[in-house]
Symmetry: C3
Subunit: 248 residues, 3 copies
Amino acid sequence: MAFKFILDEPDLLKDCVIASSSLLNEAVLTVDSNGVSLVSMDSANVALVEFNILAGAFRELEASEKTEFGVNMSDLVSVMRRVKSTETLEMSMDDGMLSIKISGNAKRAFQIPLIDVKKETKIPQLEFPASIEIKTEFLEDGISDAEIISDAVIFEADPDSFKIRSRGDNRTAELQMQKGEDGIVSLEAKDHVKSTFSLDYLKKMIKASKISDVASIKIGNDYPLRMTFTVLDKAHIGFVLAPRIEND
Amino acid sequence: MAFKFILDEPDLLKDCVIASSSLLNEAVLTVDSNGVSLVSMDSANVALVEFNILAGAFRELEASEKTEFGVNMSDLVSVMRRVKSTETLEMSMDDGMLSIKISGNAKRAFQIPLIDVKKETKIPQLEFPASIEIKTEFLEDGISDAEIISDAVIFEADPDSFKIRSRGDNRTAELQMQKGEDGIVSLEAKDHVKSTFSLDYLKKMIKASKISDVASIKIGNDYPLRMTFTVLDKAHIGFVLAPRIEND
Amino acid sequence: MAFKFILDEPDLLKDCVIASSSLLNEAVLTVDSNGVSLVSMDSANVALVEFNILAGAFRELEASEKTEFGVNMSDLVSVMRRVKSTETLEMSMDDGMLSIKISGNAKRAFQIPLIDVKKETKIPQLEFPASIEIKTEFLEDGISDAEIISDAVIFEADPDSFKIRSRGDNRTAELQMQKGEDGIVSLEAKDHVKSTFSLDYLKKMIKASKISDVASIKIGNDYPLRMTFTVLDKAHIGFVLAPRIEND
């Protein structure tokens, strides 16, 4: 057996898999002694998704060597959706299949096929002039507000404030938060920076807010966005999203 | 600035706008020292919608002169749906746009365009031989019951009872309430009166039941219906619906 | 009047009618001094549905002689959905129509037409080598698990365990319960038996789990399934489902 792991909090993996699946059709998962991880670009090459369930989150993690395997994300999601929060999840590789066992009052088992996925993806090295930690409910509000106006949204920061804006066809929406206000956990920005992103991608990315009440956002000027949701010592899921270059 | 108002109970305006929007594509709103009001016919000229948020409902109401402006109802509804009950709503006119500000933990702002709407509508003078105040849950039951039978519904009153009936294709439904019963707050009828109405319109009108537990209904014989929902000293929304002339 | 009955727990009849209606377009109901019953095959002749509301469940049951009448199930369901749990349901035959009266705070009445339904259906005499009583939540889990894999599901029992399995296109799902485990109320099986059934039918049948937390399942080898849900001394609803003959 290439690996076997047991999770008592299956939602960590479930929520990361479900949030990833809205951007990815297939993906490579890696299991090693550090935990379970995924790094993959969406098929349009606009967004990178990566998550990591850390070794400390597992009741049991047997992975003497590193194993990489490809799966169809819709296969994996359909099984993960069948796991309840209170159940225990066991995953292993078995006869060239991915074996998923769920233990609650009943014992349930699933097998799904492995697939060949060739692409290797690296998380790009980026430097961001602005970093914001924001309560996810405000991030969700800003993105939902923008949705009624346009299919693009502008993230904008300066040393004192963070804004989510959109404009289109004689209509505008803007959410503004000042440093020190309740929804802003931290804000560091050297200058005024601003980038425009696809609303459709952002809506998929913020599904990951299920795992954390706070989102970390890093932006620049007409530069990619990095958005990360973290469960301390247990898991994180992050995204890198290419900007739209637009005149605003 | 032509006007500015601040509402601490945004649901008053939100619920009236949403209920109106199911019948109206566009409308003229009027702001003056008496509050905010709307009077408009639906595009088929079958129903009149009017609402009024009274001056006493506002934390602040600056309107030295009367201002009338047209809006696309779907624009206005999409913004109003973004307001939470606990937030404060500010509305003003700004650079020929309608400016809507929402203050909760974050500050959010929207601008939507004004449009030209020419029609002026007056509430018709009508005299009704029968008036009923009914708890909205019973009204909703009667209308939902009728829905499984027909696309028309008969409202019928006599000095002692109020009925909501429908018949079609060998099937009937009837809700009957006696004067003095729990669901009837008041009932005044000189004679037996009966009129038939479009179920489709009634279903849209009773969406306004969100603002009040009691509906005021006035009917006659093959005569229009007047249905009103009131929040004492703060707001009301009312409808006048033309009857269907049918053999029953 | 051929019969009249009054039910203070309308959900007994409502839930049986709704569960039946997902398999039946029309049906014959029988009212006699034993209660109200239905026995009918679905139009594809794959499943038999039968339910019985026992005399003890009624506040009043007037049926000096046996009355049989046909109804369109969608007519009956649309009226039954309008009954609330706390209301009282009265049913009688009136002028060749089925009359349904609902009493809560308002009095509501419906009439729907009777129809001619010729077929008489008998519950087949079957002998089953395996009987399982299982908590419905586990049955629902097993069926929902199977749904992500295939359109068929295998029920399998041996003296010590009960399994719900499915397999298809390189994927498998299996729920397994051991005799004595929490979800298994009882298990009697002489041998290992196994039959395959249509998932689509099973999904419709388990809607009847609303009336009981425990399902009785009887199976054999490539043999029909009998599934029953019972409210002690008041009602039961049961199904007989033909097996799919497949190589597994």
